[in-house]
């Protein structure tokens, strides 16, 4: 079977899974459903010829689910039914449906699936073995040709983790001087 049919199936599954994730009332079930969506995204990456990305997405999804379950599962384990406002929901659905219909005209001009425009990548694919000496071309791209972007990514991850530490610190400074 060609790749297209597998991808239709996986994308349909992801859409149904994400709609189910947002509508389920129990919090633990929603977190597990979004884990299923993430793992099927990893499967889609494998069909699209990106094994590096499939590995990274799989492992990061597991860690994300562990962090979310540890943070939220104990605090709201009962089923909470928050009532929704019906007029706002209908207006949101109408506006998003009109955006979706108008966007079909934009997607007609894109290159068709399977014939990408490769102008920069041809040079990277042809010379990556000789210039960098690495066998994995994606690693050669992120650690030799585009290493400045990797430095920026490490900085952003460092800042996000530093922010998490600051928020979850044990004692604030206000409570110590209680006068």
């Amino acid at each position: 079977m060609p790749v297209d049919i597998w991808l239709y199936f996986i994308l349909g599954f992801m859409i149904i899974g994400s709609i189910a994730c947002l509508e389920i009332k129990n919090i633990l079930s929603s977190i597990i459903t979004i884990g299923v969506v993430g793992l099927s995204l990893s499967l889609a990456f494998l069909f699209l010829g990106a094994p590096d990305l499939a590995l990274v997405q799989f492992v990061f999804e597991i860690l994300c689910m562990v962090i979310l379950i540890r943070a939220f599962a104990k605090r709201s384990i009962e089923v909470r039914a928050l009532q929704r406002d019906v007029p706002e929901t209908i207006i949101a659905i109408v506006i998003l449906a009109s955006i979706f219909v108008l966007s079909i005209f934009a997607f007609k001009d894109m290159p068709s699936f399977g014939k990408p425009i490769v102008r920069v990548a041809e040079r990277y694919l042809a010379n990556a073995g000789v210039e960098t000496g690495s066998q994995n071309i994606v690693t050669a791209v992120i650690l030799n040709y585009r290493i400045y972007d990797t430095l920026g990514e490490v900085t952003v991850l460092f800042t996000a983790i530093l922010g998490t530490f600051t928020i979850l610190r044990k004692t604030g400074r206000k409570k110590r001087h209680a006068e």
């Binding site: 992801m14 010829g49 990106a50 990061f60 949101a92 699936f113 071309i137």
Partner: protein, 111 residues
């Protein structure tokens, strides 16, 4: 082309969740869904029909898929995790102060 349209539909499901839901945890999950759809769209742009994964093998000279969007998506996946962890920490602090996750009850900024 239908694959791109389905991918955009997934993005719109995430936007619907972010603007309509009243529960803070559902908003965090909807932002995650938006991130998945954008990553999938970038990798869909890079696929070449009948080509193999971009790893060299001794003695083979085949056509390979485009490696540049894959490098960008690698960066994007890593940053998504950091942002999700930061949002979860903020949500825990909000629960500690206001004792609820309902965004219509979190009104004043308490200093």
């Amino acid at each position: 082309m239908i694959l791109y349209i389905m991918c955009f539909f997934l993005f719109l499901v995430g936007v619907y969740g972010a603007i309509t839901k009243r529960d803070l945890i559902k908003i965090i999950l909807a932002i995650g869904i938006m991130g998945y759809s954008v990553n999938l769209f970038l990798v869909l742009l890079a696929y070449r029909t009948g080509a193999l994964a971009p790893i060299l093998k001794k003695g083979f000279n085949v056509t390979m898929v485009d490696p540049i969007p894959q490098a960008l998506v690698l960066t994007s996946i890593v940053i998504e995790l950091g942002v999700t962890a930061l949002m979860a920490a903020l949500a825990i602090r909000i629960y500690q102060k206001y004792d609820t996750f309902d965004i219509t009850k979190i009104r004043r900024l308490q200093g």
